[in-house]
């Protein structure tokens, strides 16, 4: 819930309402709402929380965070299968 993952804006759909972009999180690509960072451009980095870009971020910081998240396995956890995880926790998987 608190995790906000830095990602690179690889495409912006100007016709979408709300404004939407395709974000690359170290290889995993997901759509995110860009309505709160309308000035962002393709190639820039943003911090994304629950599918919403909250702030722009410089490339160096973003890449350092992504590298660490990947090493810790956090990206897989963030974008993984919550049902599988819940089953494992409940001891039914």
């Amino acid at each position: 819930m608190c995790l906000a993952v830095p990602g690179k804006v690889v495409a912006i759909d100007d016709s979408a309402d709300p404004l939407t972009g395709l974000i690359d999180f170290g290889g995993v690509q997901k759509q995110a709402c860009l309505e709160y960072v309308p000035e962002v451009r393709v190639g820039e980095y943003v911090i994304v929380h629950v599918g919403f870009a909250l702030q722009r971020l410089d490339e160096e910081s973003a890449l350092a965070s992504l590298k660490l998240f990947e090493e810790l396995g956090l990206l897989e956890e963030e974008f993984g299968d919550a049902w599988e995880q819940a089953a494992k926790e409940a001891g039914t998987a």
Binding site: M1, C2, L3, A4, D17, P18, K30, A32, C33, E35, Y36, V37, P38, I47, H49, V50, G51, F52, L54, Q55, L57, D58, S61, A64, S65, K67, L68, F69, E71, L72, L74, E77, E78, F79, G80, A82, W83, Q85, A86, A87, K88, E89, A90, G91
Partner: protein
């Protein structure tokens, strides 16, 4: 991870720790507000790397943990109804209500879906006009702009089959509640970085002044946390109590004004119960009158559900930093991630889960960073 060599920049981590050690001349107790920070601290053994004089107290900033039991019970009641598609973030699936959780409701035939974004729930409502789609809108200020946008869009699209079960909470009133508690030992705060990336820091100077505590806006990575601690200790040693931003790469003083405007359009401040803590005045948000039609509590008539919390669970004291998880008799015995009594043991951001996962079974002096006994889903 307990070895400093495993930090992404061990030299910098060592320099920060050396400086903290050199600066701290007497005992100080700091609270990290955010559950994501708690998890990062325990995961990386930061509390064990710090000098003895610096104690970290874990705060109530885990939105999953503080969602009141009665709200969980309302969610379970709604999710079990025919014709409903109940959407939630994955973190909420195993949070125990009085007698079950969303995972079990799904197993019993309820249509429970995990979504990554509240806009995914909105899309489900658009595609399923004959079903009622309910989104479980929990979270702190970080999550509120997303949930506000979802209901704003629902109105714009004239979707009448979409509603929110809202349990939003706000950090500043929680800090006030912690500081006015009789047993409070907190002398400084690491303020939650992502909350401030939305809200900015305008609400904090008054708190720093009134309670004479440093408030250092801090990020989530190990080095961010060490830097936040370094600055808070430096202020305490100098007798200062200011708001400082140690997470400038993601936090501007005015936060994200567009996101704040959306929150203020859709939500209004209200009193809110916190699980294990009780009522904190003005500590939550609810939908404004203009958006009340999208309030699932009224739509499904569950406003009267009231629930008593189990006495055995001491999560409330853990959430207020009054005890460490290991001081609860149920910890690791009757309460484990597989059979959690309270949300602090089930949520990946809960202090109890973090202690259990990283095998702090014998209190803070035990070894951190060993393999967990049970798989969980830690989120830093």
């Amino acid at each position: 991870m307990k070895y400093i060599d495993e930090f992404n920049d061990p030299d910098l981590a060592r320099r920060l720790l050396d400086e903290i050690s050199a600066t701290a001349t007497r005992p100080w107790a700091l609270m990290e507000v955010c559950g994501g920070q708690t998890h990062s601290i325990i995961r990386h053994g930061i509390d064990q790397l710090l000098p003895e004089q610096v104690e970290l107290i874990h705060g109530p900033g885990c939105p999953v943990c503080v969602t009141p039991l009665e709200v969980i019970d309302k969610a379970l009641e709604i999710a079990a109804r025919p014709g409903v598609i109940f959407c939630s973030f994955g973190d909420m699936l195993r949070v125990p209500g009085t007698d079950r959780d969303l995972f079990r409701v799904k197993g019993e035939g309820g249509d429970v879906r995990v979504v990554y974004s509240p806009l995914d729930a909105l899309e489900l409502a658009r595609r399923n006009p004959d079903r009622e789609v309910v989104f479980f809108a929990i979270g702190f200020e970080t999550t509120a702009p997303a949930n506000a946008m979802a209901v704003h869009q629902a109105r714009r699209l004239s979707l009448t089959n979409f509603s929110l079960l809202v349990s939003h909470v706000r950090v500043p009133p929680a800090i006030e509640a912690i500081m006015t508690a009789p047993a409070c030992r907190v002398q400084g705060f690491l303020a939650a970085g992502h909350v401030c990336s939305v809200m900015g820091t305008a609400e904090y100077p008054e708190l720093a002044e009134r309670f004479r505590v440093p408030l250092v806006v801090t990020g989530f990575e190990p080095l961010d946390i060490l830097e936040g601690i370094r600055r808070a200790v430096r202020q305490l040693e100098r007798g200062e109590h200011r708001v400082e931003n140690a997470y400038e790469r993601a936090v501007r003083a005015d936060g994200n004004p567009a996101a704040v405007r959306m929150i203020e359009e859709v939500f209004e401040v209200t009193d809110r119960n916190w699980r294990g803590i009780g009522l904190i005045p003005l500590s939550g948000w609810r939908l404004t009158e203009a958006f009340r039609a999208y309030d699932a509590e009224h739509r499904f008539d569950v406003t009267d559900i009231r629930t008593e919390e189990p006495a055995e669970c001491r999560a409330g004291e853990v959430l207020q930093g009054l005890i460490k998880p290991t001081e609860c008799a149920a910890f690791g015995t009757t309460c484990t991630p597989r059979t959690p009594l309270g949300a602090t043991m089930v949520s990946s951001e809960g202090a109890c889960a973090a202690y259990y996962l990283y095998r702090r079974m014998n209190g803070p002096t035990a070894q951190a960073g060993q393999a967990p006994r049970e798989e969980m889903n830690p989120v830093a």
